[in-house]
Subunit: 210 residues, 2 copies
């Protein structure tokens, strides 16, 4: 009875094919026929899983966002196991939003393509907003954790700082994409460090020796 | 002999029509036929001015960017005439990048649409990069002017700060678009003020009384 597993696997093959097409040619070039060819399936099989192109795009966007979130969670878990500071974990997590290598560039291009499309599609806009709110609330939680453990000074407005930090990161990501030569990787990481350093000014009591 | 004036007027009518279509339906919906209908012209007349859709898009993007730059220059000229501080003029200029009203939202949607498209079109990418570099260098110039007159402390790296300030503004713009309720106008203006306030910490000697 491998039906559920098959279904999930096919679903993933199709949305991965959509992502590759977006990275290579842009969202405008995505059609059901091209997606089927890219995924090595028949058009009929793709249509069995997604009745319309919009459904296929929504599934792709949801999957890319889910993968990002899972990667950040993994980073945080590993960071906690290794006793990293909250600021370090946050810096690593935020750097995942910036097109600093091929994998992150592929994700960035998908987010960018959908940012345009979502301006005229309510369901895509909802996924986009939920993703953004989710990222911001994770950053706000990290700041609150920092306040509790001493890495962040008392009285910092976590929600406001989270909004500013995430907006800054996405702006850097956009500039790294538009003008990679003028926005080198070390400058981006230093800018993120500097921005976090204005909020994370203390030392966590839990990790302090003695 | 009104040929040149006619040409410019037609050109503007066509690119304005493209902009309206992008705002209303997205870049994917733009065709030569729809643009002709929106501009109230024949398809043949549009094709007389633009031999291909890509030419029409490039002209629209160039025009929107040019209009933004002209508006910022006007703001700065007026601000100088009124004796505003450099920080105030810069805040106003940066706020032009954020979708805070219908006019700025229309421009933002066009920039967003082209940001996606430019990822797969070298000529659009070049216009996009030039525009970004132009904005950054204007902000860097404003910081240098601030250093000369006393509004900015000595030793500030103008290029680095300009990069960070523009990236932050564009990130805020993206968030104001994706999640307007979570990014209200006062919060955006306060965030811009706060960011500029970290660089513009002094008072201009020219405008100081006494």
């Amino acid at each position: 009875m491998p039906r559920v597993a098959d279904h999930d696997a096919r679903h993933g093959q199709i949305t991965d094919a959509v992502q590759r097409l977006i990275v290579r040619h842009g969202l405008a070039a995505v059609t059901v026929a091209r997606t089927a060819a890219e995924a090595g399936m028949s058009v009929g099989l793709v249509q069995h899983y997604f009745t319309a192109k919009d459904e296929m795009l929504l599934a792709t966007f949801t999957r890319v966002n889910g993968r990002f979130t899972a990667r950040v969670d993994e980073l945080v878990n590993r960071g906690e196991a290794e006793g990293r500071t909250i600021a370090e974990m946050l810096r690593q997590a935020l750097a995942e939003l910036v097109p600093l290598d091929d994998a992150r560039r592929a994700e960035f291009l998908v987010r960018l393509a959908f940012a345009d499309r979502a301006a005229h599609n309510a369901r895509l806009a909802a996924v986009q907003r939920e993703t953004l709110v989710g990222i911001r609330s994770r950053v706000a939680q990290a700041i609150d954790n920092g306040t509790a453990c001493g890495e962040v000074a008392q009285g910092i407005d976590a929600a406001d700082q989270a909004l500013q930090i995430v907006a800054f990161t996405e702006g850097l990501a956009l500039h790294a994409h538009i003008d990679p030569d003028g926005t080198p990787k070390p400058a981006i990481l230093a800018a993120l460090d500097g921005r976090l350093g204005r909020v994370f000014t203390g030392t966590c009591r839990h990790t302090q020796p003695g």
